[in-house]
């Protein structure tokens, strides 16, 4: 969870809420999804602010959701408690992720300040200032929080990856672009 000091938000990847043209497909978030057995009584939040994915170059792929239900700020499956801090990310750092498909998985940061070409539903984009880690994530894990294993500080969120690596959006950039901090 995140806060701007007034409101608490859920954080997800922006490409979760856009259509094939990379424009916002709606404003109501349903969890679990219809495919996972969810329905109209499972609306958990409303879209507040998202990265514009129609741009050719991105430094974030993130969306703030105003929750409509009570939300536990702890991360499912992790004993580490959220610290309310963004991590200073360095290569070699051990991280842990909790995702919808993979559950809890550990990995290692391989490179920072990464620029890659990444395929979205509306075509290729250049993703800048990302982080690459050993393969942590699978289909369905996008937006999952990645945490520093030794401190519990927030590293970032899963965006995508290749078969051997995971691309993570850098958490610290959310402070600048969305004016939010993780909730402790």
């Amino acid at each position: 969870m995140f806060t701007d000091g007034k409101q608490k938000y859920l954080g997800i990847a922006s490409h979760c809420v856009v259509g094939d043209d990379c424009r916002l497909a709606g404003n109501l978030l349903v969890q679990p999804s219809v495919a996972d057995g969810g329905g109209k009584d499972d609306v958990i939040g409303e879209v507040h602010q998202c990265t514009d994915l129609t741009q050719p170059e991105l430094t974030t792929d993130f969306c703030l959701i105003i929750p409509k239900v009570d939300v536990d700020p702890n991360i499912l499956g992790l004993e580490l408690k959220p610290t309310g801090k963004y991590a200073d990310v360095k290569p070699g750092m051990q991280v842990v992720m909790s995702g919808r498909t993979s559950g809890v998985r550990e990995g290692t940061i391989m490179a920072t300040n990464v620029m890659v070409k990444i395929e979205y539903q509306c075509g290729y984009k250049v993703f800048k200032n990302g982080i690459l880690a050993t393969a942590l994530s699978l289909e369905g894990d996008s937006g999952a929080p990645v945490i520093a294993k030794d401190t519990g500080d927030y590293v970032g969120y899963i965006v995508g990856g290749s078969s051997t690596m995971s691309l993570i959006g850098y958490g610290k950039l959310l402070e600048k672009e969305f004016k939010v901090k993780p909730v402790a």
């Binding site: 109501l28 219809v34 391989m110 920072t112 620029m115 890659v116 690459l132 369905g140 996008s142």
Partner: protein, 96 residues
């Protein structure tokens, strides 16, 4: 005796020069992308892309990069629902 100030300027110049080359190779679609392990560039190229391997070897080898062969990067898809109207929820799996 090494002049540390000159050495640092040279190191910064070398990093700047390699950044420019990597930018160019990225824009020309020779490499999939790049990042950094401290001052060492980490270069991603397509698996078995002999041309990219050769270009990196001939143009970037002076700074001893880490070269990683991989397939293309994709935004991960999954199952997620988003709707404008809660009575008309999408049945389609969303990217998530």
């Amino acid at each position: 005796m090494v002049n540390l100030s000159s050495f640092n300027i040279y190191r910064k110049y070398k990093a700047w020069r390699v950044s420019k080359r990597l930018d160019r190779l990225f824009k020309e679609n020779v490499i999939l992308g790049y990042g950094w392990q401290g001052a060492t560039p980490v270069i991603f190229i397509k698996t078995n892309d002999l041309k990219a391997r050769e270009v990196v070897r001939s143009q970037i080898s002076f700074i001893q990069p880490i070269v990683i062969e991989t397939d293309e990067f994709k935004a991960l898809s999954g199952f997620f629902s988003i709707s404008k109207d809660k009575d008309q929820l999408s049945q389609e799996p969303r990217h998530a």
